[in-house]
Symmetry: C2
């Protein structure tokens, strides 16, 4: 009989947490027991799972006793606070926050790209930033054949990346504006209805916001290439749950469109999507709820013989977060890597 | 006494036509008489001007008799059809369509950039594409000091670029979607409510849509630099009337941020807009109804020492179309260039 695992979802009531629960069910993850954890505020709620309802429990010191695998999606400070207990309890943490992504000894993994990095895990595994995951799925199959020299990406990011309150704000505020009322931003710092703005993550001293730096440094870590040249401009747009990205990729030599197209058509996690006749390409509405990232509109850059332009859309909640985390869990299960004998706890 | 001119607005009832009328009034354009022209369908409508109402007349063979200056914004086929009559009537056409933009002998002008090109006009002057106008205002002051090597632009384009029906569709369709009804695209080929898609202008054989090629070829013509390397990805977003652009600009040498910032602060037609402390930059809602293009968020590109990243927003209807056309008219008036003795008519 296949081994089953004792799972906890930390941040179970959030957008990503509820999606993880749903994906565990959809993909028949080998679950022995399932504990839903959240703040005291959400304790007592019930979430549907395999035809029944599971109670949400309040997070406590004893939450991780006897747990094998924790999917965390409750923000960086919660992850930082609880990671030592999780690892000490000999559970393995798959963390959706940015808390440990750049920490040495913590694999940062997109299963279609660098699953082998999971072999060295010491109890904590980081799930990359949503925009990064989507971009790496399109870049990796090309980078394998002709190494990338430089990437310039502009994003069109959905409200979902800022959580359920932000998605509700987009809808409510849009209703207000259509009714002639002034927008009243709460979840976002600026109006989002019929508007857009550079990503609201904290600004860094080099004038990139944190979201943009994540796309740079995380891609370098995932690709094992600290010198890969990447620039990003991240923008929040009035879309609900799927991100889009306009990506210019410069190689060291010309990359024939047909070859790039064929590689992307065969790439795991990618659904190649372009119709030049009807001028139809991936759109957030099409990508929403889908597992693969929709990639296409591959063009020869007219400004540079060595560069291609491409376009992608991907569900921020699924492949951008919950699905990627569950896929990491699946790879651990398949390779009997769920457990660990970590000394990482002393370092986090 | 200052000379006043007999003006006609062709396409007076459209989004851009009504804005031209309003801007002529706002800026006290020296109007002797004003004729509003549109299709038979719109004839009889009344539009407000200087405290009164002007009737819209149906376009006919005699519409341009005794007219000095025609502002046309009724689409490329109407412009092509009527340009010969306009020029033959010795009126000068300032055309908002793409019909003559790349025609030799037709100046393509952003008054802050290449007004001197107007001196050679032969009766037809082209107003550039909206995204192009906005981009050139930000690029030109930098290009004057350190020539640009390559530009990579991704746009976030408002519904207004597709006309009044498209703006109404964005609002109506959003109302439908919020009420749980399916989107019913008419003006756009795809749903626009809470969605976005690569620009729906016709696709060309090199896999750039026409809007993208306009940004390339028009910028080259305006800058008198046919070898300027530009690539563009144009995207339609659910915003009403202001476009945004994420622009990566590579020079032949590093361009200090402070110097670029100072140049942009002094640049005509530009309002420099960035607040790093509060993480606030130009947004479509701020740019809507404004004359200048809002430019800022100037960053050193971390992937290339010779490149800068910047961000802009501009009102697509005003500076992107109507205002630029009226400014061209003003420059003609100031330099006594409204009239012409053209032989261009034989060539268009």
């Amino acid at each position: 009989m296949e081994r089953a695992y004792r799972i906890a979802i930390l941040g179970a009531t959030g957008v990503v947490g509820t999606e993880i629960l749903q994906i565990l069910e959809e993909r028949k993850f080998p679950v022995d027991s399932l504990v839903l954890l959240a703040s005291a505020r959400s304790a007592g709620k019930q979430l549907p799972y395999r035809g029944t309802f599971l109670p949400v429990q309040s997070l406590s010191e004893k939450s991780f006793e006897g747990i094998d695998l924790v999917f965390a999606s409750a923000g960086g400070s919660i992850s930082k606070q609880w990671a030592p207990q999780i690892v000490q309890a000999r559970a393995t943490l798959i963390d959706n926050s940015s808390a440990f992504r750049m920490t040495e000894g913590v694999p940062l993994v997109v299963p279609e790209v660098n699953p082998e990095d999971l072999r060295a895990h010491q109890g904590i595994i980081a799930n990359p930033n949503c925009s990064t995951i989507l971009m790496t799925l399109a870049l990796w199959p090309l980078h394998q054949v002709r190494p990338i020299k430089r990437v310039i990406c502009s994003t069109y990011q959905a409200a979902s990346g800022a959580g359920a309150a932000a998605m509700a704000e987009l809808q409510d505020q849009t209703r207000d504006v259509l009714a002639g009322r002034d927008p009243n931003p709460q979840a976002f710092p600026h109006p989002i209805a019929f508007n857009l703005f550079p990503h609201n993550s904290p600004m860094t001293e080099n004038r990139y916001c944190e979201e943009e730096l994540k796309m740079i440094y995380e891609t370098q870590k995932i690709f094992h290439d600290p010198y890969l040249r990447v620039s990003a401009t991240c923008v929040r747009v009035p879309v609900l749950r799927a991100h889009a990205e306009s990506i210019n990729i410069e190689f060291h030599e010309p990359f024939p469109i047909e070859e790039a197209t064929n590689l992307l058509k065969q790439a795991p996690g990618v659904m190649f999507t372009e119709n030049w006749q009807s001028n139809t390409f991936a759109m957030p509405l099409d990508a929403s709820g889908q597992d693969p990232v929709l990639v296409g509109r591959v063009r020869q850059d007219l400004s540079c013989p060595e560069a291609l332009e491409l376009w992608l859309c991907g569900d921020q909640i699924r492949k951008g977060a919950a699905l990627n985390a569950v896929q990491i869990g699946e790879w651990l299960v398949q390779n009997d890597l769920v457990s660990h004998k970590s000394d990482l706890v002393s370092r986090v």
